[in-house]
Amino acid sequence: MAADSPPRTAVLSVRNIVRTFRSPRGIIRALDDVSFDVAEGTITGLIGPDGAGKTTLLRILAGILGADSGRATILGFDPATEAPALQRHLGYMPQKFGLYEDLTVGENLDLHADLHGVPPERRAELYAPLLSMTALGPFRTRLAGKLSGGMKQKLGVACSLVHAPPLLLLDEPTVGVDPVSRRELWEILARQVRENRTTLLVSTAYMDEASRFDRVVILHAGKVLGEGRPEDLVSEARGHVFHVAYPSWSPRKLEPFLAKVPGILDAVGEDGGVRVVVEGSAPPLPAEISTTRIEPVPPRFEDAFMQRLARGAGKTSRTAPSPENLGWQNKKPGLADGGHEEAIIIRELTRDFGSFRAVDHLTFSVGRGEIFGLLGANGAGKTTTFRMLSGLLLPTSGELRIDGKDVLGSRVAEIRGRLGYMSQKFSLYSQLTVHQNLVFFTSAYGMSGKRQRDRIAEIEAFFELEAYREESAGLLPLGFRQRLALAASVAHEPSILLLDEPTSGVDPVARREFWRTISQLSLWGVSVLVTTHFMTEAEYCDRVAIMAQGQLLALGSPAEIRARARTPETPDPTLEDAFIRLLEQAQPPGVPA
């Protein structure tokens, strides 16, 4: 969006902001001498791993938190001293937006209008475009708590725009929102910028979103690692990105291997090979994999981001785990020998809630050692399916088999011992330390004595949690919390892993690590069923199923799904394009579920 137009006035400027927090590990510099400007009528992205200081910065700018030193100017106000005056003009949408779930859509809008002193006679005129943009018009009298996740986020945006603020601060507005709703949300925001010259400062963990911004600011460990137009940052990576394939190794084996090679800044599995970002002009491949096919590929924003991060901070992801660390198959004889049987069989599975059918005659199966992705918009029935599989919910009808055993007829304890379950909330006891959490969860699965101690030591080493052993789980950075949650759910050596949006809100660095671990587990014969909103992650899956309204819309390998969306206009669709296309075919846009 128009970087060649005449320079615009900065409506927001940040100069040398420093903010520290005290923590049990000492003083943390959440923001360390941060400076940048935001021009009027542009979208600026604030990008960085978890704990980089994005939220802290947005809170300081909104006048909710004070800075230790440095100053900021927003719309001519100083948030440190003129917060009340600033907040009348500013729109701010925090990560957990405070919608009142017991109020209707209309009442939520009225409330925010009241809070910002919008005169009643102007409201009709201000609401109309917001309601039509968000397509919430027909739901004015519906309770906010009864909206889907995507609609709630849209209502949140509408509420923050109700007083027509010239500047809007958004903190990860699209976390946990499905690709379709995400696209719609961005259309709303882009229109706001285009038509009203609203300025946006947005933090996000989605790299594909970042590439659509006018400018991005990359934050890492409280410092600005890079700043500029996304195109410029991307062009820095040109000539450093390659697609590497080694026919005798699967990408799942190749990726962790390459990630360990010095000079390779980033490696991620893609399309039958591995996409790598390298330091020099060619991948420094070791002699072991000589017959490798190497092709240069055009860089994406994510490549540029990983390049910056690796340069600025050294290699941030932990070294990939090696099989010797966690000899899965030696300990679970049942795993290796049952190679041909299906790990999960679901037949005609149905679940009703009153008159609403959440899951409708669903049928699919997951093979041993397979990574199976379950994709779908919010409310498609994925979580309900998961809850039935894990025994938290009884099906209305249908059949569920886990390792050949009927879930409904078998002894519950036996089935549950075979399952590992990790939910999007990273459910851990936040008051307990990392070690205490592991002790508890392994005990819950019946481990005790020396076997338990050995297993915990092994798991702590494998997930590199030793340094945080005595830390309360609730105080861990998000990426570590996720790592611990996964550690806790695999500590009892399950043969099947159920992961419900396991990477929600987690940054790209932690996401890569996470998937490397999952790939490794699948190589050891663990079957994985996973839901995700990140379509790039679905590429890690052997097969994916797309659900809508409780039914199966499509099933196949990522390549097959992509092929189904191929048209003359988009000869090479991404999985996300394919996903949105399939959903739109099933349900014309604009018709709410």
Binding site: S390, G391, L392, L393, L394, V412, A413, E414, R416, G417, L419, Y421, S423, K425, F426, S427, L428, Y429, S430, Q431, L432, T433, Q436, V439, F440, F441, S443, A444, Y445, G446, S448, S472, A488
Partner: protein, 372 residues
């Protein structure tokens, strides 16, 4: 069996850590109950001290001064003012300057000398009816003492049926002896209810409850794991309160310790049961807290802690039959003051055990229901 014991032990350990590792919840469990004990025991007393009163004496004679001297000499009374008109009396009582005005008419000494009954009028502030009743008792005792001495000194005929009062188990009718054992019950109930009522709700909010339910642990294990820490904390706190009551407030503990602790055990069981029942029905900690208070307030008011159950309408008296605090207060007061042993309290133990087991079974039922 051993595996089961280990599982439950680990669950209990986890509950303990969750409660005690967090500085705030540690404080909430330990400090307020002890502060409440001290404050309640000093403040919540029916004994009146420093009663401010005024005198309106129209009698110039000797006897009125003798009567009034008995008041001014009592440690419970504090003379604020002498007045000489009804208007002043009204002003003093209306403005809550005094609780009592003693009015002696001009004929008082003359009537006594002439062998006629004299009248001492006591005007009390009836707006605080409870205080007024107690105050009238005090005034009566003092005036009675004067008239008994007068009768004896002047060789007159004593009243025909003099009343001789003696209070067993609490000879001086110290209200602290009545209140402190009650507080043991009150605080034990608050603690055992809060420990459990919030625990499942907290797990639901954090999402750990689902994580717990997908493990092979059964509802029975989970309930046991939640009850054990409640027991330990309930026992520790009630022991602390008993110790403070006996050594700081000198309330006699005349009965047997086994009788007391059997009562504490069964009462804690029913408190935990009710707490878990609330917990299994609510989905947030806020609802859990509200539920706990919804149960706490009526169970304290309808327990006989302050007002006797016998005074309540029959239908309410019937309702108090499911109130565990009602039985525990009987146990406490009888063990502390009367020196009761286990045998005499069997009906109360049985009632508590029934409430405890019943509520636990219901809690287990609700647990399972929420899963399906």
């Amino acid at each position: 069996m051993k595996a089961l014991a280990i599982r439950i032990l680990r669950l209990a350990q986890k509950e303990f850590l969750a409660l005690l590792r967090d500085k705030k919840s540690r404080m909430v469990l330990i400090v307020p109950p002890l502060v409440q004990l001290i404050v309640f025991s000093y403040a919540a007393t029916f004994d009146l001290n420093h009663i401010s009163y005024a005198v309106w004496n129209e009698d110039p004679g000797l006897y009125s001064r003798q009567v009034l001297a008995r008041f001014s000499g009592s440690p419970n009374f504090r003379l604020l003012k002498s007045v000489d008109s009804e208007k002043e009396v009204r002003a003093l009582i209306d403005n809550r300057k005094v609780l009592l005005v003693l009015h002696i008419r001009s004929t008082f000494s003359r009537d006594l000398l002439a062998g006629r009954p004299g009248t001492v009028e006591a005007l009390v502030d009836g707006r605080q009816s409870n205080t007024a009743m107690i105050l009238m008792g005090y005034v009566q005792t003092i005036v009675q003492g004067f008239s008994d001495d007068f009768v004896a000194a002047n060789g007159l005929t004593p009243p025909i049926a003099p009343l001789s009062l003696r209070a067993w188990y609490n000879p001086n009718l110290k209200s602290r002896w009545f209140i402190v054992p009650g507080i043991v019950g009150l605080l034990t109930l608050v603690v055992s209810l809060l420990v459990t009522a919030l625990s499942v709700a907290r797990e639901r909010e954090d999402g750990t409850f689902d994580q717990l339910l997908v493990t092979p642990l059964r509802p029975f294990d989970i309930i046991m794991g939640k009850i054990i820490p409640g027991f330990v904390i309930g026992f520790a706190e009630s022991t602390a309160i008993v110790l403070v009551g006996v050594f700081l407030f000198h309330v006699p503990l005349r009965g047997s310790l086994p009788a007391l602790y059997l009562g504490i055990f069964l009462f804690t069981l029913s408190g935990l049961g009710v707490g878990l029942m609330i917990s299994s029905l609510v989905s947030t900690q806020q609802q859990g807290l509200l539920g706990a208070f919804l149960f706490l307030v009526p169970s304290i008011i309808l327990s006989g802690f302050a007002t006797p159950i016998a005074n309540m309408p029959q239908i309410i008296q019937d309702m108090t039959l499911i109130n565990p605090l009602r039985y525990f207060l009987v146990i406490l007061r009888e063990v502390f003051l009367q020196g009761a042993g286990i045998r005499i309290l069997i009906p109360e133990y049985a009632a508590l055990a029934a409430i405890g087991i019943g509520s636990l079974l219901l809690a287990g039922h609700f647990f399972r229901k929420r899963i399906g």
